[in-house]
Assembly symmetry: C2
Homo-oligomer: 161 residues x 2
């Protein structure tokens, strides 16, 4: 990787990276890459990856999906996901744990309306298997180019640094 002076003349401070990260998390119609994993019958780890729409509610990442989809099954089985926001040259990585799964049909209004307000769709009324997954970020890292690799960790053990 080389430094692109048009993007980042100097490495951003931690405060700036946190502000940029929160702005991304709060922006409307924001998609996120969701990496999950499973274990095959032969014991091999199997990666999975899809893009999904997110909402950022009460300091949690909220996704809406079919619990029986591959991503849904993986998150419910392992309790973890690794998320990336932004582009490959303006990276935000989030390691998150599943806090709760809420059926769309039974979701409290603040969750359902918060999701619909930020995402570009509303999963309600929702089918039998449709759920909101509420993910608690535990580690957040943000960097653009190689000069920002140092200092990229913004949150550790669920606490902003």
């Amino acid at each position: 990787m080389t430094t692109n002076p048009q993007v980042a003349p100097v490495p951003r401070t931690r405060e700036q990276r946190q502000a940029d990260t929160l702005a991304m998390l709060r922006s409307p119609v924001r998609d996120v890459w969701v990496a999950t994993a499973s274990v095959a019958d032969d014991g091999t780890a199997v990666p999975y990856l899809v893009p999904l729409s997110l909402a950022w509610l009460d300091d949690r990442v909220v996704l809406a999906l079919d619990a029986t989809s591959r991503t849904g099954r993986n998150v419910l089985a392992t309790g973890t996901a690794r998320l990336s926001l932004g582009g490959t040259r303006d990276v935000v990585m989030i390691d998150a744990v599943l806090e709760r799964s809420v059926r769309v049909a039974e979701a409290p209004p603040e969750l359902a309306e918060g999701y619909a307000a930020q995402a570009d769709w509303d999963p309600r009324p929702g089918g039998e298997h449709d759920v909101y997954l509420v993910l608690h970020p535990r580690r957040v890292q943000a960097w653009r180019e190689v000069d920002e690799i140092a200092g990229r960790t913004l949150m550790r053990d669920g606490e902003w640094l």
Copy 2:
């Protein structure tokens, strides 16, 4: 997801999607999200995800990395990776298997020069653990909006459809 008429007034044909996908794979300074997985000591699957620079050589995705990095270890252990190119609204997903791992210091010139020519860096001369991973795509899918979910599979079992 909603259809964005500015992006795709009609679903692309398979031929167009393949052409767009190959153009992405051949474009200079192309990054890819690389999802891999491992199995924790307690048997839980653990996802991992990083952005890396790719080269597209002889119908293979070539990455260059430290074999002892987490992504390196995961690919070498499982023999698989799931890759995404493009954005969350212009998606190309590639399920690939590891064909071979070549030490940077011992790589044939066509591999090393091909990688350096397309990527934006040259890993040579390379440290003790630096390798090229040559990944063979087995399944490729491409879609933009929801109207392109049908017909998204472009390659199956390593063969373009």
